[in-house]
Amino acid sequence: MTKKSFKRAFRDSLPIMAGYLALGIGYGVLLQSKGYSFWWAILMSVTMFAGSGQYAGVDFMASGASLLTTGFMTLIINCRHFFYGVSLLEKYRGTGAAKPYLIFGLTDETYSITATTVLEDDINPKRYYLFLTALNHSYWITGCVLGAVLGMFLPFSSEGIDFAMTALFIVIMVEQWLSSKEHLPAILGVATTVVCLLVFGAEYFIVPALFLIAAELMLFRKKLDKPESEAPHAD
């Protein structure tokens, strides 16, 4: 049963392996280009295990942002995890000692699989989730460290590589846009933030934007709240 669970988890994790190795390598190269060695790649990929959070984190470290700013921005970027957890409350019930690690490793990609996968009866869900999470974590660490090592020998200038974070967020947005019929939340998010950026300036726009967006979404609840609303698409 354990062997079967591992086989299934490994099979399901293959697309994520490709993605994590590539994104991890990009991340490691970015980290190295800002002057942080592969020790940082190990530390961050082991303890944070978050694509967008780590990409943005390099920016906070390189710019010497305060701990408060760093923590607050990380909270905003990763608050979507909260809603992943909400939709997995049932599935992760009764996973025992593995549960804290499963929750710790709840990335967008792991979520996209555990939230949608249907397991056969001869597969132990608890072991399957644990294998899947640990495999994904190991791909991510491997990618990040590989990138940081490769970054030391890069034969060309890495100026502009920080566009990786922008490109990643754009891809997630396009993916969400194509997989949903309701575009109002995305439009509100962009429009409100642009207005706040112009009004409050690049230093202070995030907090007012966040509160305004939440208020607007509550205002449009009647229109947007449909019982059959689709789950948010993971990146």
Partner: protein, 109 residues
């Protein structure tokens, strides 16, 4: 070896905050309790709005009134959108976009 203590603290803060965002739902709604409707509603719509906000956040340092008027970001951003609508392959879209952007800022502008 000189250790960057501030960066180390930043990593610890980020790791703690990320873990917090992942653990909170399981702590707030323990096994056997029903999740409030407003939370599931926000869970459905907020991720779309937040990603829109983050895309704008990525462009916050771009000046459209001085050279190169945000053109590298605009061109590379449009490239990413186009590639993704066409092929819907995350890796091609991200790495293609980064390559276009690097060429633009290093060789063109």
């Amino acid at each position: 070896m000189q250790i960057d203590v501030h960066a180390l603290l930043q990593v610890l803060v980020m790791a703690a905050v990320i873990a917090f965002t992942r653990f909170l739902p399981f702590l707030a709604f323990p096994e056997g309790r029903k999740t409030p409707r407003v939370i599931t509603y926000l869970g459905g719509v907020l991720p779309y709005a937040i990603i829109g906000m983050l895309v704008v956040y990525c462009f916050k340092g771009v000046s459209v009134v001085s050279y190169p008027w945000g053109l590298p970001e605009l061109i590379a951003g449009a490239f990413v959108v186009g590639m993704h609508v066409w092929l819907r392959n995350t890796l091609i879209s991200v790495f293609g976009g980064v390559a276009v952007y690097m060429i633009l800022v290093q060789l063109v502008f």
